[in-house]
Symmetry: C2
DNA sequence: TTTTACTTTCTCATTTTATGGGATAGGATG
DNA sequence: CATCCTATCCCATAAAATGAGAAAGTAAAA
């Protein structure tokens, strides 16, 4: 059916992923919402983008309007409706970072065989929310519920990658006020710059001797950092080369969790 | 079709608003989202609530899952999915207070024959965003773009009904620092208390001589005040009795705008 | 004003698509 | 190992969705 069905003259854009069958109408309606994400769009263009007739487009759009998923401004077009604001807000309260992240960090721990942590910012510290022990017999002293310094843990630095550099010095000084291993700020700053640029952070035995880790931030729909994950292991298993290799996996996992939280890649936003 | 189609034996709960026809599948799918707003719900209960067979419920739910509108946890049930977080966030950026409020305040102005204003908080002042002149020949000096004091305008006080009383004094003093009509704080505070309790505010010729108004706040999906509307008129048309009567209409209009912004009445939330 | 060029809405015969009964698979729990 | 409940799959039936085209609105042009 679709358009002409005969010779598929449409370029490409019209062919969406098919998905399960037996719910064409529902799927078409849901996909219609995606076509409306950037600004008001009039019916003729909407039906063109959907690859449907005006009739069908109009009928589906009306159903969406009836339930508040779309609104229509005459001579302007369709826009996202108030129901989405409602449901978006409710979904927020249902989504739990720990629960959402679980399957992802479990599989990450499985792949890497190392200990994986999940944490978030709490009062300028990194709060550990969840922990999957690795297969290797490595002692990682952190426990769920602990609050560790931001500037000397991988998790903490990952949570900081969006923090403006003007704040760095203050946070660094706060963390190092109570003694601890003395580190030169200039060195730390240089490393932090590269972490911020790469969107992920390392920890090189700064917080705990012989323990290194790779960490990456988790973001929500508004692109704000709401947590971070890290893979930790003994330095003997974590040479520079492996840390580089791990970066991709950790970043990808963090992105997958972010996506489950409503985040979307900017590059993917505009088709 | 539906159930038995024969004699409508079902009690009531299963019969939803029908809406436009020709999109049953889409409407059922959309309505399914409403059944999932409070916590995980397993398939049998979901199908019961929807008044559908397990087969149909399962198929629709799967389509919603495929597009990310739902997520499923085995042995737990269905929950709202990440797509709703995405779309909710995008909808937020599309929804414009002025445009959304327009039809409502136009109709309010029509009914009351008085001047209606729309405004929001801006730097501890009431910023006037829109204005529908009334039919009566009354001069209202305010103009769109003006920023008026919070504590001496109806609009401003409506924006304040959620502000903790501990802040009141400071705001009051700020507004009255630069001279103006001298008002006793004790009197003002007493009135403000009643406004906060009623969820709407009056202005009794405080800001402008001979001008009285009734105002109410507008809220978004998170129940935060994002704006306010007011009906203003000359004191001769605005005796105490009429202000009382207007309160209902102004409140209802403010609620209608709020609803268009994703707000939902707490009382209506739990069915 | 009337005309023109739209965009939006509605109608209805055709047929594709959704439906739900029931059978199957999967997992807990006792 | 038997039981019980949940989730998934299959398929003939029939109802619901489809789209061509006509009609009704609207805004700008003549």
């Amino acid at each position: 059916m679709r358009q002409k069905s005969s010779n598929e003259k449409l370029p490409a854009a019209s062919e969406k992923r098919a998905g399960p069958q037996g719910s064409q109408t529902l799927l078409r309606g849901l996909d219609m919402l995606d076509q409306v994400v950037d600004g008001p769009i009039p019916l003729p263009e909407l039906s063109a983008r959907m690859g449907l007739t005006r009739s069908t487009t109009h009928r589906l759009a009306n159903a969406l309007i009836d339930r508040g998923f779309l609104v229509f401004f005459p001579r302007e077009g369709y826009q996202l409706g108030p129901k989405l604001l409602q449901l978006g807000f409710l979904a927020q309260s249902q989504v739990d970072l720990i629960q959402t992240a679980r399957p992802h960090i479990e599989s990450l721990a499985m792949r890497t065989e190392d200990t994986v942590h999940l944490g978030r910012l709490d009062d300028e510290r990194a709060l550990y929310l969840d922990k999957i022990p690795g297969r290797r017999r490595v002692e990682i002293s952190s426990r769920v519920g602990d609050r560790q310094p931001l500037t000397s843990t991988g998790l903490g630095k990952a949570l900081m990658v969006d923090t403006p550099p003007s704040e760095w010095r203050r946070l660094f000084d706060t963390d190092h006020a109570s003694g601890g291993v003395p580190i030169d700020y200039a060195v730390w700053e240089e490393r932090m710059k590269s972490y911020a640029a790469a969107g992920r952070a390392f920890d090189l035995e700064e917080n705990e001797d012989q323990i290194r880790c790779v960490a990456a931030p988790i973001r929500d729909a508004s692109n704000r950092i709401v947590g971070a994950i890290s893979v930790s292991s003994a330095a003997q298993y974590m040479d520079d080369q492996r840390m580089d290799a791990l970066s991709d996996d950790v970043l990808a996992t963090a992105r997958a969790i972010s996506t489950d939280l409503g985040w979307q890649d900017e590059k993917a936003t505009r088709k």
